[in-house]
Assembly symmetry: C2
Homo-oligomer: 447 residues x 2
């Protein structure tokens, strides 16, 4: 048996999967809090390219053709390998078969370019010259910089100031690809100046950076905004991950009993899981889908399913989703990409309707799983992805206990080459677990 | 056409290529300066496993079977992809076809594990419990840590103190794989203590670290020493790179007119080039082989072909090789892996006998080439590997000027994810070129 199950480029799926077309209950629309009505399309059109808005609304059928130029760019690193975790299996001495889809092979080192590329492409088609976005730890900003460089657009990236200062390497990657990186809060925007007036030493926040990127977008006709997770069209683009994996599992003569993804905004989970939910819906398949979140930010497992804002500053439309409250401030865990109060509305609804389960693990358990993984499989995972590894190990050990063979697939959404400072702290015993912050969640949700 | 030419694991070559079997003139033996005679095998046997010594002496025929356990470990990341640099070709607007073999997919991020794995494996076969080695920037130490973890041995890695302090991430990677990392000079060995007595604030040097690792090895019966480049058995293990690439070029329906590798100690160049030199020797092929070195350390292009020590402290046997003199101290360029005064004796002899050419480029040209590469191909190269990229670009532009189509293959020996600080300095204009240091070379060689 081959350890790595590879697809040739000619075998790469030519479509994304639009799960909305198959959902028995249509998603609740985004709401404009000022009117109490669904957000007006013309308002959104000032922010997003029309093709992306159509995708956001679930139009175009179940299979959306990947445009030729996007497909051509995907070929730089896709199809991504599916790898049998043979060495981890041996360590666990489990009858389970563990596979992982490895998205760390992309230029940015994670799944994020899967959506950055089409988002920038559609904007280019519409004559847009400039993309404004925000980034926390830098994964998303790196992906947008790569995509804008590729299609000849400019990018302006508002990077949370504390990350800008602590993560100069990510900033250097963005600049290498021509991205203009501005620490947020900045003096470039009115809301940045207001934040600075209030606190000149502000560390910044993702919410604040979103506000700056949105203001920047609205201030220039040639500019549009891009978001790296949460939204329906982002989840759509990520389904290339799951679609490829289905073909690869077929090559391996196998099919997963369990599919696992970590969930922050929900896009990498959606990417691996939605095609398997389709198979569950349309065929006799009964694959168990597990969303994994940090105990420090347990949106699905401890949050509420309701309309809430996507950002701290409450500038976005309200989305129907699981949320810990838009003012919830998660502890400073090292899986920065999972520190989000809300959850993709599609993932939220599918979870609410019973199409998937959710589990939460603390960061010590996850770093321990990551250490087991790098010592066996040789790949250093991103701290976010380590949550999926932890859940896969739990399932593999359960299979061992029960003496049943299970086929487990998880999404290894990125590598951890830029997170080694976090690993150092873990190995030096400087990290703490951060269990479920019940009181803070209750307070944030006004319970 | 596929951009990435992949091999399945079942297509991976089952042998290394021992070029000594085909060389018309047999290599000159290592000399013991104390006797003026070839170094006694029993002295070397205290340092290296007997299988490795046999390989060092070129025994066993032209094709050495890769042991099953080594092959199994290679499968964690091998076969490595061969990639057509389509996007770089477009930028250069060249009729040349450019391919690169990408060794950055290994656990350590470079070609080094190709030899760390068999070296540790053979030592394990001989009941050795512990490996001592040295590392400069950390690539080699990382590879040895991964290999010893894999086979259940201990490793002790003497890391040049200035790197130990400046590159905590590499150190963390070694420790993650169970490596014991000691800054050199250390108080662990007599020669370390002597260096510290002379200069308590010593930054350390690779020569000093080699001396400490050798002393450590000789002081413990359960310990052997491993070296990451220069030696014949190291070059042998690296030929998996070239052998795979031949199969991949065949799949692409192509064959290289030019094969390029950067050269520090010479092992990654040997790995990609030796199988093509075989084809040149045994068939009508006329592939041009180009070794690329930094102008700051121009061993082949400006050095002398003579017997010299492998280390600054002059503890090793003398090897017949191109050298800048064992006391030559190269400028602090950011391609740390190319800062070596000597050159693989096999590469040296083949160059001397006309089987390959050599070129030198300065670090600004090479960083510029790396920037072009990451902007088109999406992979951030190690500064060492950028020398091969630069030479490939030169050849592609020459083909354009001449209006001829050439097929160019180079070895992209590693990624630059741990070298971003160097890239930052480059983009901020803080690096200098370091041209050929003629006067220093003359002085070092006693001319």
């Amino acid at each position: 048996m081959e350890k790595k199950i590879l697809l040739s480029e000619s075998e790469m799926p030519r479509h994304w999967y639009n799960i909305i077309a198959h959902m028995p209950n249509q998603p609740a629309p985004p709401m404009d809090p000022s009117t109490g009505q669904p957000a007006a399309p013309e308002k959104l059109a000032r922010i997003f390219a029309p093709q992306l808005l159509e995708q956001e609304m679930g139009q175009g059928g179940a299979y959306i053709e990947i445009p030729e130029e996007v497909f051509d760019t995907y070929r730089i690193w896709r199809p991504a390998p599916l790898i049998r975790a043979t060495e981890l299996e041996k360590l666990l001495d489990t009858p389970a078969k563990i596979y992982y889809k490895y998205e760390g092979v992309s230029p940015a080192g994670s799944h994020k370019p899967n959506t950055a590329i089409p988002q920038v492409y559609y904007n280019k088609l519409n004559g847009i010259k400039r993309i404004a976005t925000e980034t926390g730890a830098g994964q998303w900003g790196t992906s947008i910089a790569f995509a804008t460089q590729r299609f000849g657009l400019e990018s302006i990236i508002y990077m949370v100031k504390v990350s800008y200062e602590q993560k100069p390497y990510r900033k250097a990657m963005m600049e290498m690809w021509g991205g203009k990186v501005i620490p947020s809060p900045s003096t470039t925007t009115a809301c940045g100046r207001a934040m600075l007036a209030e606190d000149p030493d502000s560390n910044g926040s993702l919410g604040g950076a979103i506000s700056e990127a949105l203001e920047d977008t609205l201030s220039r006709e040639d500019t549009r905004y891009c978001l790296g997770s949460v939204l329906n069209h982002v989840a759509l683009h990520q389904t290339i991950v799951g679609e490829e994996s289905i073909k690869q599992m077929e090559k391996a003569g196998d099919y997963p009993d369990i599919v696992i993804g970590c969930a922050g905004g929900g896009s990498n989970l959606a990417g691996i899981a939605f095609p398997y939910i389709r198979e569950n819906m349309l065929s006799a398949r009964k694959t168990e889908i597990i969303a994994v979140e940090p105990t420090a930010c347990p949106t699905l497992t401890k949050g509420t399913y309701t309309y809430d804002f996507g950002d701290v500053a409450q500038l976005t439309p309200q989305l129907k989703m699981y949320t810990l409250g838009s003012k919830f401030m998660p502890a400073g865990i090292h899986a920065g990409g999972l520190r989000y109060h809300g959850m993709s509305p599609l993932v939220s609804q599918l979870y609410h309707e019973g199409y998937m389960k959710a589990e939460a693990y603390n960061q010590l358990e996850c770093f321990e799983a990551a250490a087991m993984f790098v010592r066996t499989e040789g790949i250093l995972p991103a701290p976010e992805s380590s949550h999926a590894i932890k859940a896969a190990i739990v399932q593999a050990l359960k299979a061992k206990e029960e003496g049943t063979s299970k086929t487990i697939l998880f999404n290894l959404s990125g590598h951890g080459h830029f997170d080694i400072a976090s690993y150092e702290k873990y190995f030096q015993g400087e990290l703490i677990a951060y269990e479920h912050p019940e009181a803070e969640i209750a307070k944030s949700l006004g319970r």
